[in-house]
Symmetry: C2
């Protein structure tokens, strides 16, 4: 079996072209492309995306961002945590644990993780050890937040 490596993706035209094959192509990708075209970012700057290549092809990706503890409304004690979004594996490359590899990579920072997945992916996230956050409308609005707690971290209790 080929060794799987999670890499930080660089912002360049090749990466941005590969992003078009992913379903969740939106404002974030368009904005990265515009920033590159207008030299707001340099070619090969680091992006918030991490990915897995199969040969020359980007086959899985996710975005990760460290939220400062002063904005933490999920974890106890309040602390820096990772927001994870756009975890996606291209259709032909599913069921090869690439999704799990990416999530394991995110967990390796040993910070709590929050994600707001598509409704149909809850089975996957449960297998990854994520749990539903208690829904708080003012905080979560239309989200269905799931959280992952490293040892010693609890969920904030807003009803106390």
């Amino acid at each position: 079996m080929q060794e799987v490596k999670v890499e930080r993706l660089l912002i360049n035209y090749k990466t941005l072209e590969e992003f078009k094959r992913f379903k969740e192509y939106g404002n974030q990708e368009l904005s990265m492309l515009e920033d590159l075209e207008s030299n707001i970012v340099e070619n090969n700057s680091e992006s918030p995306f991490y990915g897995i290549y199969y040969g020359d092809t980007l086959v899985a990706r996710m975005s990760l961002y460290k939220v400062n503890k002063k904005y933490d409304a999920y974890f106890e004690p309040p602390q820096d945590y990772l927001e994870l979004w756009k975890l996606e594996v291209l259709p032909h490359y599913r069921n090869k644990k690439y999704g799990k590899e990416l999530v394991d990579f995110a967990k390796s920072f040993n910070l709590p993780i929050k994600t707001n997945p598509r409704i149909n992916s809850h089975g996957f996230w449960e297998r990854m050890g994520f749990q539903k956050a208690k829904y708080e409308m003012e905080r979560d609005l239309g989200e269905n937040p799931l959280i992952w707690l490293p040892q010693g971290v609890k969920e904030q209790n807003h009803s106390e």
Copy 2:
């Protein structure tokens, strides 16, 4: 043509049963059901949902929440604005302007509106006069925010 009326939805077992027919059934709905079952909210309390009934059937809905201006990172001058989510019309009732009726209702408060729609619905939102917000990673993370500006309101410019 039948007159279309947008109503604030009340939290009761009938409403929560009707919610199951909508695709975007998630933590918010489950949490409302739990709150009702454990008497945290009273039967027939007001929910953040507005909807349209066709006869006895809820056929369209959206959630609306007024965000306090101290959290406004989208509009200039900073002000209270409406977050709109879960706008959804049941399949058999589409192309009857129910979606537009709900959006017009939201606009009638004359506050700016922000929504984070599914990627494939951008055509609809454009027809409703919404525009893409300039993507800001720290603020928007995985979102594709669209905004609607009433007269005299501008988008915040974070690159200044």
